[in-house]
Symmetry: C2
Subunit: 671 residues, 2 copies
């Protein structure tokens, strides 16, 4: 006999699941990349999430800031022990690390960030990318065996975006063959690195290298921060955490200042440039090689942004099936809120947006691997295009995902505001992506720079690379009259983007012609430059997503194919309607075409409605990963809200001590 | 001799202030409503904020959830004691209560919500609005003297928007002349009321009244929840707090269930409807009278939304003057980020949006007072229009303010993510407004219902009330060719809104003509209905704001007038550009007109740039209200960030205990 009472599934969800027209598991396998990948993921999730050590009696949100940190260190250490067990069993390989840090499993194991994540995301990769063979042999082994824990200290209190402006200095002293690290100002203090506060004892520190009295620019140094035995900060090291944030309060972001701290010469990472014993500086052969890691992180962000959005739409879609409110018709039972078209309009385009970025991330990943392969062979041709598309994809994906998560949260009404819905925490994590690893507006302007160069090249008759090929044709040709298909939308978006790029180019040129300095002309035109970069990004997302659907079209069942194409159509229509103004302005799209698009949007919402729960079920996100009272598989929303509230330490006592201390004296004071 | 060292003001801010072309104090007085109002406000702020009891050594964000609550009770009691002192001195009057609860002073005294606020915002007003003279005499005095603390319990776990669906029952027992309050289901538990958790001992409870075996709908009852001496919950009262939220974690939102709790007959608030001793039900003369409080709260939200936005733009604008990043031109010093046009585009339209909602709130307040005056004289004519405009204004103002606060936060980069910037907390408070007191989409659909009726009336040749007057003219007439002035923009927006309303009406009608039930036709058209209501709202905001500027035009100095009209122009242009698609689609606006608008936008940003700091200085928000490391008057951003971080309890010890507990064993494990 089974002791556990069978879980009652909410009848609305049961009914939704019965309506589903396709096989959930087929979609799960497709998204995972195959049945074997699904099995591997599920096994990994089971291994971690079934461990009672990961279940807390008091949810972390009730703890103090300090307690949150201590709990996160406990969990982070536990995660690493368990990863080691998997590695010892030969299961999962390097992917285990990516998964326990990433947006799906990682954000379930450590809900508000991991204080040791940068050890794997930045410290080890930088040693690998910038250390000599000898340095790698020494440091990577120590890091990999967790004899030391490292972080990556670049951003300063006064400098984030502008790396050349960083102020920390590393001055070579040939007499002792040491570098002297120093923080000359308050603004030169390192500020933000994750795990820097109290969790790491080493860091890769970025500093301005001075040798033979010349500044040689930014270089990476290995610096010991704390005693390996006692964890006490070493002499001259001013270190601590930076305080509370909107989210990620367990990442232990820290500050770091140096008071003339001496490190040996061989702590400069010297794979590219070197300082010889006498202080002679030997320059790196190419400065572009360092691009690799930066682009890599942006690729990861596109994928993680999609993951966070997937979590939010799963929660909001299930809740919208369970929640009833108001009556569509008087006398009828209250309506499932998912039957309100305005609600569908909040949810379904975000489901489609998840698919879009998920597939674009796969594409970008492949493109990135190809280009880095070429880089190692010394071919740099495709680097500018990769850089440009990775910049705008990071910006647009993170912004869309953040907006989508908020839309989902607001679509859950008051209950979405509860921490137990998991939506506020998810927003805290996803919105951070808009700022870190390249602020979004700055990145879009980087893409715009590529677009302006491309525009110039097209006018000079040069041939363009794939993501910008459309500039060649669509600057002159007009588009066909409206047709209700995605190819028409893509051609309209291309015409629109090409025209925006050209218009922006013209505005910038005419400012320059009037005698404005090129830099000022750039700045004065920058609102339009950002707009052009966004449009360029949208064109590529729609086209890449659609092409990938065409690629898999014949590998899936008819039932699933129908759904996949409803989603890609919805995405394209949704984007086109967002750009109504630009389509009308820059293409021969007519008002009545917009009306057709609006009807098509409404048709697609209706078509997706019966499968909405089925689609999010196929994302196969375990309850322990969703961690949401509103989104659990069984749909017992109200029971869970109640159960979570009962865990509040305030509810452990019927009367809080503040009554005797403050309220009662006030009540007795006869005011 | 003065012992305090003079505070060094950041030289960038000094320079900005020297550039300012108008008198700050004139604008301060204008916004406050006169020099006397400014003096009164400043005196009140000084009285509260200078009290050392309001200064905490450890910022609240570091505390546990329970400690946050306890600290908020301490502060709330202190606030009330000090209000009483002011009242005793005859200073400030009833406005003191509004201010200590509101978005400016209130959110400084209790950063994350006030657990006693609903006593004043809902409990006392409901007693006043719905109690008989006798009931008022008994209860209002007790409440006003703080012998009891009350809240207002309406929303249930399963019901928010749909008030008729509330499940709590109050069944009259004629034998004992009592009502029996009962929660028949889990979903009928009250959920959300502020202060309900542990802070109130009374509540007005909304419940379905049953008498003589018939349901008589929702009525308000006075219910004692806790013993006045011990604060213990009374028998049959299931009560507690609902747990952590995205924000407002000090408001002590609670749940409440009844197990057949008996209350005397005269605890039904009987100003409108009555239950006689034998159980006979006497109906209220008009059901519309209850609208008053609901509309009142929405008026307050428009004003508070503007206040929150004002705080955020003050912080982001000052920070943008202090922060330098990158170089516009190689070799030059790093640029103040406010000199980037993309940054101006994030900040200045939000400054203008504050002015817009601030003036619209004044207008709405006056309109509300007029209509409620008429109501008391039995005139209900203008109630539908007031209701319609208050609904959409609440929705659009809260949504714009929330989006604006987030834009400001993101415009501050990484540092905006720090709690010490005050931007995350401000967002938590302002985004809540999108959901409470009428969920925004629901409210826009209420406005849309008024618009569809108006559309029908116009077609029948009826005359329209002021806010919708434009429907009469602009459904047929076209607009003049583009002119670079605000009147042209208003006429274009009117034409656009009228056309959208008409198009939406037509789409709904044609669905009904095809045989769809009217309710389904409504639902199917609801995306466009929401769009129509938003456009209607925008037209009114631009026009009302502009008209109020015309009204005060000749009462201000030339220097200030110039700035005020730059701002109203910027607001209008910004809105017009947001509606590019609709303008092109529904009016004879041309692509080149949009290009003119874009240039005008850029001109206005440049014009406002030198005064940006001066404008936000004029908001005259004390540092203790801003509570922002990034936004303080002296601009010592980096010093303050550092100082705030030093307050983190984690930084009190160089080594956290988690090192010995978890990290060291891991480091020693030779993984």
């Amino acid at each position: 006999m089974n002791n556990a009472a069978p879980v009652k599934v909410n009848p609305d969800l049961l009914r939704e699941r019965q309506k589903c027209t396709f096989n959930n598991l087929e979609l799960t396998h497709l998204l995972d990349g195959g049945a074997d990948k699904t099995a591997e993921r599920r096994e990994r999730e089971e291994f971690f999430l079934n461990d009672p050590e990961f279940k807390s009696k008091t949810p972390v949100e009730y703890l103090s800031h300090k307690e949150k940190y201590e709990e996160s260190v406990r969990r982070a250490c536990l995660v690493l022990k368990k990863v080691q067990q998997l590695q010892d069993q030969g299961k999962g390989g390097i992917d285990n690390y990516r998964q326990v840090i990433g947006a799906q499993l990682g954000s379930a194991l450590l809900q508000d960030g991991n204080p040791i994540a940068l050890h794997y995301i930045m410290f080890i990769p930088t040693l690998m990318g910038q250390g000599t063979i000898d340095q790698q042999a020494e440091w990577i082994q120590r890091a990999w065996n967790l004899e030391i824990i490292g972080t990556y200290a670049q951003t300063e209190l006064g400098h984030g975006t502008f790396i050349r402006g960083l102020e920390t200095t590393a001055t070579y002293d040939a007499k002792t063959q040491e570098f002297v690290l120093h923080s000359p100002t308050l603004t030169s203090y390192k500020w933000w690195p994750g795990g820097l506060g109290h969790s790491s004892n080493y860091a890769v520190v970025m500093a301005q290298l001075y040798t033979q009295e010349k500044c040689r620019g930014m270089h990476a140094f290995i610096v010991q921060l704390r005693d390996e035995e006692t964890n006490m900060p070493l002499p001259g090291i001013k270190i601590g955490e930076i305080g509370c944030k909107l989210g990620m309060n367990a990442t232990n972001n820290g500050f770091l200042g140096f008071e003339k701290v001496r490190i040996p010469r061989n702590h400069l990472l010297m794979k590219n440039s070197k300082v010889l014993e006498d202080g002679t500086y030997v320059k790196a052969p190419s400065s572009k090689l360092a691009y690799g890691t930066m682009i890599f992180v942006r690729v990861v962000i596109v994928e993680d942004a999609a993951f966070f959005l997937r979590k939010a739409v799963t929660i909001a879609t299930r809740y919208s099936a369970v929640r009833h409110q108001c009556q569509l018709k008087a006398g009828e039972p209250e309506t499932q809120i998912m039957d309100y078209i305005t609600q569908q309009y909040k949810l379904f385009p975000n489901i489609a947006t998840f698919f879009a970025y998920s597939y674009v991330a796969k594409w970008l990943w492949e493109y990135y691997n190809n280009v880095t392969g070429e880089l190692e062979a010394g071919i740099l041709d495709r680097l500018p295009e990769l850089h440009a598309i990775a910049c705008c994809l990071k910006a647009v994906a993170s912004a869309d995902a953040a907006a989508g998560v908020e839309t989902c949260r607001l679509a859950c009404g008051g209950h979405g505001y509860m921490t137990s819905s998991s939506l506020p925490t998810t927003y805290g994590l996803v919105t951070a992506m808009c700022t870190y690893e390249g602020e979004n507006t700055v990145l879009l302007l980087q893409t715009a720079r590529f677009l302006m160069k491309s525009c110039q090249s097209v006018m000079e008759g040069k041939s363009m690379t794939p993501t910008i090929k459309y500039l060649e044709t669509y600057q002159t040709a007009n588009i066909k009259p409206f047709e209700k298909n995605i190819e028409w939308i893509i051609s309209a978006l291309k015409k629109m983007a090409a025209s925006k790029i050209q218009t922006t180019f013209n505005h910038m040129s005419s400012r320059a012609e009037k005698g404005m300095a090129p830099e000022d002309a750039w700045n004065e035109t920058s609102i339009e430059l950002v707009g052009a970069a966004e449009s360029h990004c949208r064109v590529n997302v729609v086209e890449i997503y659609y092409n990938m659907m065409l690629q898999i079209k014949n590998t899936v069942s008819e039932e699933l194919r129908v759904v996949l194409f409803q989603l890609v159509n919805l995405y394209a229509v949704h984007i086109a309607l967002r750009y109504t103004g630009d389509l009308l302005r820059y293409t021969n799209t007519l008002g009545k075409d917009i009306e057709e698009l609006q009807s098509w949007l409404e048709e697609l919402l209706a078509a997706i409605r019966p499968n909405a729960v089925g689609i999010v079920d196929s994302f196969d996100i375990r309850d322990e990963i969703l961690m949401s009272t509103l989104g659990s598989y069984d749909g017992n929303v109200y029971e869970r809200l109640f159960e979570e509230a009962s865990k509040s330490p305030l509810n452990a006592e019927p009367v809080n001590k503040s009554f005797r201390q403050y309220l009662q004296p006030l009540l007795k004071s006869n005011m």
